[in-house]
Symmetry: C2
Subunit: 417 residues, 2 copies
């Protein structure tokens, strides 16, 4: 089961590609400024799903699913329809396909396309479910005794973010202005963030909507797929604003996601258990199967016109709560969830220093700047820095990848003066 | 300017109606289960705007604005178009109108309609901008010395809520289950909220989108109108979950809004200044004109099959920050704002005990239950209780009202066991 499936597209059969037949992630692309279409990545190509559906090659419903440049319509269907669609895709693209000649007409070289947001985000929630991250941040701000908040081992703590600020990989990120006050200042001032940071995360994309409390098992069923996610965070803005109602403008500049949604089906061979529980969870949040995934993750930093340094690498399997547990918790009070809701995992830090998924942790609050390959150092982001998140699950002789999640920092501008 | 404008619809000329020609609020209605249409309230009638536009009586754009059952398309136009539309409405409905005969065909008695959500909510933000409320809550939880958080006099503190949980007046509100832990408990448990509460607020509806920081003056221009808003809040869930990232499931059960959006134009004669500043605001948040409104507000509680008790009355003019200041702050970090974003003012409490806009304050954290007309008492909501918010600005011999914002509490059900 966990082996490379062969395609008639040679580049999809390489052990190095992120997009073998086993993966088939969903994105939105355009060529030469034309109207964006839905597409599926396969090796070095993209299958134009909008045109393939129009032609009848890939028609699975009586009404079209891919007329709009987003995957939301397929996402809103039942999981059976997701399976039917994926099965048909595999049939068309597998090495012995009788549809090869027809499908070739809908292949575009990945080199020629621009990628867009793969789905319309309904609402965005960000969690705090990485234990190493919560411990690191807690130790910095509250000392080792009180590092984990009292509720942390009982609920996946989350807050609502801004869907309007989600952008696709490749979008430049402007350093934010906002109100700031360092502990030494008497009064706050309005200025650009000097502690602008990243958060390495995996985002879960809700497919099936719900309208009331759901179980962890139902929640897992309702999840359509996963993306890489970088929750850009202004630590200095956060410090001044977050008491008592949580992060607001510190997290509202932008959140970048990978251009490809990797489906739950593609990740299925890489399911794994959450870590052992220090406190037993209440029944409504208890694990009911392996719902995390073994996904290798890394963060690179590239200074303006400079060399790439991998500054951290970790794995999604270290998280304390799965996305299914987060989604179940999200519905306990009756909160309706909708197709296109995006749930950030929380920062994914591992136990070692080079497993830390934020600069706040890597530089220990700015006290221990870390070195780049070119000899320069960083505590937080500088203008011109590019951050690249990479992620893939590794099978026997193949990878299931997300495509890079990239963002470059551009200088702050005050439009208000 | 501040006098009743006369209409050929007699019920619109009463000093008691909430919907004189001066108001013309925007809603969505249906009759006999038919497809919902956009409508404007006038006296005891609703003008069917969808049909009036179709007929050519009320056509102000080359493409139709009211085909969908929501006001978002008009909201997304420029303020000039808002004015053109309102001017034309006034012309049609004014006492000397030459369009009376044509318009009569599109009038429906308000008694015969069901009201729906007047607009599609993009995202929902709730603020904490009432000083009396913040002081009351702060005194209960942190004592009089530290009642106001250090940032409170410098920024309108807000958090992101859930757009999916916004419902129109008349929708029943199911008491939520969630994880709870009182200070005396060793471990949390999963149960129904025993401290379910209301928050009396005004919601500002964003019309013109923005994509980067905007000034307070631009923010005021971008606001389309206002609604009454009840942010149902589970205080026991909130107490356990809100540290360190703010309210989440405690605020996600539902938020009710009035069925009518009262336009900024209708409220214009009632503009007033924010209170004197204890600390001067930074330039980007400073007042630049009267941007609060003199709107009388009240809260009534009706036990199941019981008598109505007015439990509080206050005025929107006591708020420390205007919606324009909140919207400007919301954009400082670059956060894009979209047509249909909804901004809750925060709980509107006045200086006196009977001015308090939440049961938490009225019962002082449950320690001082308050009496109802029937002799029973309340600390928090009981199943079967109906809460009615009322609001109107009062001119010379006329009112500009929102229509009641009503919700009835129904018993908690645990679907998960």
């Amino acid at each position: 089961m966990n082996d490379l499936k062969l395609s008639w597209i040679a580049s999809a059969n390489s052990a190095e590609t992120l997009f073998p037949l086993n993966n088939l992630p969903y994105g939105v692309f355009s060529t030469n400024g034309k109207r964006p279409h839905c597409g599926v990545a396969i090796g070095n190509f993209i299958l134009d799903v909008t045109l393939a559906e129009e032609s009848g090659l890939l028609t699975i419903c009586s009404e079209p699913l891919f007329k709009a440049a987003s995957w939301n319509k397929l996402m809103s269907q039942s999981p059976n329809v997701w399976t039917t669609f994926r099965t048909r895709l595999m049939e068309i693209l597998a090495e012995d396909s009788s549809d090869q000649a027809r499908a070739e007409a809908f292949l575009i070289s990945s080199a020629d396309v621009q990628l867009h947001m793969p789905f319309t985000v309904s609402e965005y929630t960000d969690f705090y479910a990485g234990r190493h991250h919560a411990l690191n941040v807690g130790m910095m701000f509250r000392g080792p005794e009180n590092a984990l908040p009292p509720n942390w081992l009982h609920i996946p703590i989350g807050y609502n973010g801004r869907a309007s600020s989600i952008v696709v990989s490749g979008t430049n990120i402007r350093r934010p202005w906002s109100q700031l006050k360092s502990p030494d200042d008497t009064d706050p001032r309005f200025g650009p963030s000097a502690r602008f940071d990243i958060e390495l995360e995996i985002g879960a994309v809700v497919g099936v909507p719900s309208n009331g409390p759901i179980t962890v098992s139902q929640a897992d069923d309702n999840i359509f797929g996963y993306v890489l996610l970088n929750d850009w965070s202004a630590r200095d803005i956060q410090a001044w604003e977050y008491q008592p109602l949580g992060p607001f403008q510190s997290k509202a500049t932008a959140t970048s996601i990978s251009p490809w949604i990797v489906t739950k089906a593609a990740l299925d061979p890489f399911r794994c258990e959450t870590p052992e529980r220090e406190k037993e969870l209440l029944p409504h949040l208890r694990d009911c199967g392996p719902m995390l995934y073994d996904i290798n993750l890394s963060v690179s930093l590239i200074p303006d016109n400079g060399l790439e340094t991998e500054i951290a690498h970790t794995n999604y399997n270290v998280m304390y709560y799965s996305a299914a547990q987060q989604l179940a918790h999200h519905t306990t009070s009756g909160c309706p969830m909708r197709t296109g809701d995006l749930l950030g995992s929380g920062t994914i830090s591992g136990p070692r220093k080079d497993n830390r998924g934020s600069l706040l942790e890597l530089s220990w609050g700015g006290k221990e700047p870390f070195e780049l390959i070119d000899g320069s150092s960083r505590s937080f982001l500088e203008d011109g820095d590019t951050i690249v998140l990479k992620g893939s699950a590794n099978g026997h002789g193949y990878k299931v990848g997300f495509g890079d999640c990239v963002g470059k920092i551009i200088e702050a501008v005050n439009d208000l003066e």
